[in-house]
Structures are given as structure tokens and as C-alpha cells.
């Protein structure tokens, strides 16, 4: 066994994990719409926490994040704080109340709380925009992992991924997804931690990466790892690793947009509809963040280890003596070397004129075990983990898309007389259509997918978060205010995004940004606009009917949550 190669190990581990997911899907088939939308409503808080963590941690968290941080240094903190701090908002401001409300989807809440079909449809459109942009990125991630580790074509990889997701999302709905996500959490966290622990021991002698990151190097020099990395970076003309380059205002705005966006993402919110009681919703938010924090506090350590290793391995070394992983990744086009001064050595520098090496962010986590010369099974494990992360998130998003269509559009808006069985079929068919569309975008990614995934948070922050928070904490908020707020919020976010990301409406450079805020951080401004518009419009329009105000009183009290229902 010990001399099995990476390829064989990868087939073995990926094959085993896929067999596990399919087995779980068959065991947990959905029999009713309640099973399909909210897994029957009886998921335990720990299981729901694991499922939420897997749902949340996507290909971006698993594959890209540590790489982004490795290249951004301190500036990468926006993702770490932004994507975890949102759970505090979710646990304290949203999850318990939405669970008490007890419906199936986010548009369900918006539609009922604001007693308006228009509000429901606006919410459905926001949910579809956010979810589709996000899911396309996941399918692409599946394709990248397949192509690098199983040496199949990226497109074949996407199609294999589509079939797997299709199988358990369509068959099992939320019930199938929940229990496969529990398994996927275990696979992905194990796959992330094993190489991190190995490398931490290798570099610092400490097995805990979070501590290793702040320890001295294990080479007898007594130098702290972070000081070493700061030194290496500045020598090559880069900013010191622990210093930021983004403006203070922008770091602030991006972090807030990501936090609020996290709390407003429909596929995360619906997970809290699957537990039995309000206190279980709070508890599963706690479990979810704890389980997410394991990866999120390890990722910055991985970033430091990988960046230091990379600089030591490539900087000013002879190209001919580069190890095998260098050539492997060159073949994928994610790493390119151009010997500008023809000295046969790799000059990796901050200055674009003289820099000879371009490295894609996504390589860092995937290549890290190879760079550190870890055993073949560890490298294969990372491939299985990346797939688990991408598939679990894709499945959660597909469920949001299908329930928005079958429940909010068909059942609640256009065909209220549809039977339970008919609705279940509609849910399955819309999940299938959604998988096919997502697969299409995975194979033919519009140039802007990567950019839009980051912006999906801005869109969620600008639309859902204010409407839901006001709906709970501000009894007098009415439909006119909420609808105007959502429309202004999402429209201003879309306009800013199109102007500064896609060069429409005259385009613009960072110098033209409003208040020095990048499109990624603009969600914060759009969210504030939403709040201001909602509250202003509310002053001039009739207050909500008494029965709606009674509902608000009722969701503030935790007991008697009953079962989530669609009626």
C-alpha cells in the first residue's frame, strides 16, 4: 500500500466518499414536501450545525481562501472576520425568530410578514440572483479538482459532479442533503486539518496550526515564522505580510458587507428551519460557527506556511531544478513562468516588469501538501475534501432555487390549488432544471463568475438582511417600506457592481469609487440605503394590519414553535 501513487489514492478516496454520499441519499429519501423542504423538521442541533458548516464552506473556503490570504496577508482578514462574524448576527438577530415563524423559505417569511405577493416575488428574484451566481462557481470548483487530480477533462468533471448532486438533491431534497452534508463536513474538515497539522509540525514543531503560526521556526534560528515571512516579503518588494494595503474604510466596509451578507444568504438561513425548537436553532448556530471556526482559524496558518514554503522553494532558484509539482501545475495553466532576463532562475518579485512567476490563488491549498512533500494519501485526501466542500454547497443552493420556484412561485403565487404530490414533483423538476443550468455555467463560465461570487454577499446584504431584521425588530415596518428598501438596496448594489466591475455606465477606476469603497464593500452602503429608505417610506404609508403586528409579537416569544409548515 505504501507505494501506491497519488492517482490511485485519489480514485480510491473520492470513490469511497461518493459511494457514501449516494448510500446516505438512498437511505434518506424524501417522502413529503416537509421532508423535501425542511428535512421533516426534526434534525438535531449538532447534525444541523455540521450540515450548516458544510453547506456554508464552499469550494471558495476550502480551495481558494487560504490562497487569497497567502497573497493578501493582513488584507485577507476581511474574509476571515467577515465569513465568521456573520454567524453572530445570524444567531442573535435572525435564526431563532425565523424558526419560530416556522415556514419553509426566506421569501415565505418576507411574503407573510409584509402581507404582500409583490414582496414575496421581489424576495424570490433576489434569492435566485444570489443562488445562481454562487452555484456556478461551485460546479467550476468541482471541475478544477477533477481535472487536476483525476486527469479528466474539466467539463467531464463538471458533468460527473452534476450527476452526483442531481441524484441526492432530487431524490432526498433537504433530508438527503442534510445527512450527506453531515458526512461531507467530516470529510472536508479531516482533509483540511491533516495536511495543516503535518506542515505545522514540519515547520514549527507544534502540531496545532493556530499556535504554530505564531511560533518560532524549527530550524534552530529562533526566528518567529511571521517575522521571517514579513522579511522575505519585503526583500522581494512586496508589502510586509502582517501589514495591510487596502484603505481602512474599505477593509471596514468589505468586512461588514461579508458579515451581513453571510447572515442574509438564503441557503444558510433555511438550515435553521430544519430543527425542532427555537432553542435548537440557537444551539445549531453555535455548533455551526464552532465547526466553521476550526477551518477558519486554520486557514490563515496554512496561508503563512504555504507562502513561506513557496518563497523558499522558488525564489531565485534554478527553473531546471524545480520539483514535480511545479511542472504539474504549469500544465494546468494555473502557474506560469516566463524567464524575462533569461538567467534560468525564477525571479518572483512585486514589480510586474521584472516578475517572472504568476501563481493562481487556488493552487496554494491544493499544491500545499505536494510542496511540503507529504505522503500520497494526504494529497488525495485534499482532492476528496475539495469535492465535498463544493458539492455540499452546490446542493444547498440548488434546494433554495427549487423551493423558491416550486413553493414560492408555483404553490404560493400561481397555482395555490396544486396538490402535495404535485408540489413535490414540481420541486424535483425545478431542482433538475437548476442543476442543468448550474452545470451549463460551470462548463461555460461567463467571464464574470468569479467576480460575482464575491458580490453575491453584497447583494444578500443589500436586500434580505434589512428586510428580515426590520420585520422582526420593528413591529411597525410595513410592506411599502420593506419593498422600497429591498428594491433600492439591490438596485444600487447592482448598478455600482456593473459600473465598477463590468465597465458599464461609463465604468470607472478605483480613484472614482464612492467614499473609497470597492464594489466588494459597497454592500455595506447599499444595506444602509435599504434601511434608510425603508424607514423613511414607512413614515408616509399606512401601518401594517393588526394581525401582522400580532405575528411579530408572537415570533419574539420562543415557545410553541410547532412544526415548520407551508400553510
Amino acid at each position: 500500500m505504501s507505494n501506491m501513487d497519488v492517482q490511485t489514492w485519489t480514485y480510491l478516496l473520492v470513490g469511497l466518499s461518493f459511494a457514501l454520499y449516494i448510500g446516505i441519499a438512498i437511505w434518506s429519501r424524501a417522502g413529503s414536501t416537509r421532508d423535501f423542504y425542511v428535512a421533516g423538521g426534526g434534525v438535531s442541533p449538532l447534525a444541523n450545525g455540521m450540515a450548516t458548516a458544510a453547506d456554508w464552506m464552499s469550494a471558495a473556503s476550502f480551495i481558494s481562501m487560504a490562497g487569497i490570504i497567502a497573497f493578501a496577508g493582513y488584507d485577507g482578514s476581511v474574509y476571515l472576520m467577515g465569513w465568521t462574524g456573520g454567524y453572530v448576527l445570524l444567531a442573535l438577530l435572525l435564526a431563532p425568530y425565523l424558526r419560530k415563524f416556522g415556514k419553509y423559505t426566506v421569501p415565505d417569511f418576507i411574503g407573510d410578514r409584509y402581507y404582500s405577493k409583490t414582496a414575496r416575488i421581489v424576495a424570490v428574484i433576489c434569492a435566485l440572483i444570489v443562488s445562481f451566481t454562487y452555484v456556478a462557481g461551485q460546479m467550476r470548483g468541482v471541475g478544477v479538482v477533477f481535472s487536476r487530480f483525476l486527469e479528466v477533462d474539466i467539463n467531464t468533471g463538471v458533468i460527473i459532479g452534476m450527476f452526483i448532486v442531481l441524484f441526492y438533491a432530487v431524490l432526498g431534497g433537504m433530508k438527503g442533503i442534510t445527512y450527506t452534508q453531515v458526512a461531507q463536513y467530516c470529510v472536508l474538515i479531516f482533509a483540511f486539518m491533516v495536511p495543516a497539522i503535518f506542515i505545522s509540525i514540519q515547520m514549527t514543531g507544534n502540531p496545532i496550526p493556530q499556535i504554530g503560526m505564531g511560533s518560532t521556526l524549527d530550524d534552530g534560528s529562533g526566528t518567529y515564522l511571521l517575522d521571517k515571512l514579513d522579511g522575505l516579503s519585503t526583500e522581494l518588494g512586496f508589502a510586509a505580510y502582517t501589514e495591510g494595503q487596502k484603505s481602512l474604510v474599505d477593509v471596514f466596509a468589505i468586512t461588514l458587507a461579508l458579515m451581513v451578507g453571510t447572515a442574509g444568504l438564503p441557503h444558510v438561513i433555511v438550515r435553521f428551519f430544519t430543527v425542532k425548537r427555537v432553542k435548537d436553532a440557537r444551539k445549531s448556530a453555535g455548533w455551526a460557527l464552532l465547526l466553521i471556526a476550526i477551518l477558519y482559524t486554520t486557514a490563515p496558518a496554512v496561508a503563512v506556511f504555504a507562502k513561506t514554503n513557496l518563497l523558499k522553494t522558488v525564489s531565485d532558484q534554478a527553473y531546471a531544478e524545480m520539483p514535480g509539482w511545479f511542472k504539474n501545475w504549469e500544465n494546468t495553466g494555473l502557474l506560469t513562468f516566463d524567464d524575462k532576463n533569461a538567467d534560468g532562475r525564477i525571479q518572483y518579485l512585486a514589480d510586474d516588469e521584472t516578475n517572472e512567476l504568476i501563481i493562481d490563488n487556488d493552487i496554494m491549498v491544493l499544491a500545499n501538501p505536494e510542496i511540503a512533500q507529504l505522503p500520497a494519501w494526504v494529497i488525495a485526501l485534499v482532492a476528496a475534501g475539495g469535492l465535498a466542500a463544493a458539492l455540499s454547497t452546490a446542493a444547498g443552493l440548488l434546494l433554495v432555487i427549487s423551493s423558491s420556484v416550486s413553493h414560492d412561485l408555483i404553490k404560493k403565487t400561481f397555482r395555490p390549488d396544486i396538490s402535495e404530490k404535485g408540489e413535490l414533483w414540481a420541486a424535483r423538476i425545478s431542482a433538475t432544471v437548476a442543476v442543468i443550468i448550474a452545470g451549463y455555467f460551470g462548463i461555460n463560465p461567463p467571464g464574470f463568475v468569479a467576480a460575482v461570487v464575491a458580490l453575491a454577499f453584497g447583494l444578500a446584504a443589500a436586500s434580505f438582511f434589512p428586510a428580515i431584521v426590520l420585520g422582526i425588530f420593528y413591529k411597525k415596518m410595513n410592506k411599502e417600506g420593506a419593498i422600497a428598501g429591498m428594491v433600492v438596496g439591490i438596485a444600487s448594489m447592482l448598478l455600482y457592481m456593473m459600473k465598477f466591475k463590468f465597465d458599464m455606465f461609463g465604468g470607472g477606476t478605483p480613484e472614482d469609487w464612492w467614499f473609497d469603497i470597492s464594489p466588494e464593500g459597497f454592500g455595506t452602503v447599499a444595506m444602509l440605503l435599504n434601511f434608510i429608505v425603508s424607514v423613511t417610506v414607512m413614515q408616509f404609508t399606512p401601518e401594517p394590519p393588526a394581525d401582522v403586528q400580532d405575528i411579530v409579537e408572537d415570533i419574539r416569544i420562543p415557545n410553541g414553535a410547532g412544526e415548520a409548515s407551508g400553510h
Binding site: I69, Y74, G76, S77, L80, M81, T84, G85, Y87, V88, A91, L92, L93, P96, Q210, M213, G214, S215, T216, Y224, L225, L226, D227, T242, G244, L248, V251, F252, T255, L256, R277, K279, R282, K283, A285, G286, L289, L290, A293, Y296, T297, P300, E553, R556, I557, P558, N559, G560, A561
Partner: protein
């Protein structure tokens, strides 16, 4: 106002007070220590970490987790106090 409504109002007021305190801490560790006062805190060291950098990439996340578990405890007690436990 019925007994139940009085309880509900008092429960909600205490809940809001918890939220204000917990969210102030949430704000202080991330936006405060990790961003606004990062440079000042960086002059203090925690082993190999500069303190502001540590808060931004490690410390704030630990505090977030603790905050949610504290909230769970506080709310469970509050539910019992007002008879909203189940």
C-alpha cells in the same frame, strides 16, 4: 395587559439588552481590535503574533464562537425565568 403580555414585554426588553452588550463585544473585537486600532495594538506582541494582526486573523473568531455560546446560555435561562421554556 394580560400576565402573559407583561411577561412577553419584559422578556423582550431583557433580550434586547443582551443583544446590545453581546453585539458591542462583537464590534469591539473585529472592527475595533482587528481594524480600527490594529496598528496601535500591533506594538504589543503575543509570541510571534502582533496583537492587532492576531485579533484580525484568530482572536476575533474565537470571541465570536464564545459570544454565541454565552448567548445560548443567557437565553435558555431567560426562557425559564419567564416560563417560555419548552
Amino acid at each position: 395587559m394580560s400576565e402573559k403580555q407583561k411577561h412577553a414585554t419584559a422578556y423582550w426588553r431583557e433580550n434586547i439588552r443582551y443583544l446590545v452588550v453581546l453585539l458591542s463585544i462583537w464590534f469591539a473585537v473585529s472592527y475595533g481590535a482587528g481594524i480600527l486600532f490594529k496598528d496601535a495594538l500591533d506594538s504589543i506582541r503575543l509570541g510571534g503574533f502582533k496583537l492587532g494582526f492576531w485579533f484580525a486573523q484568530q482572536g476575533s473568531i474565537y470571541v465570536f464562537v464564545i459570544l454565541i455560546f454565552v448567548y445560548i446560555r443567557l437565553m435558555n435561562t431567560l426562557d425559564k425565568k419567564y416560563g417560555f421554556d419548552e
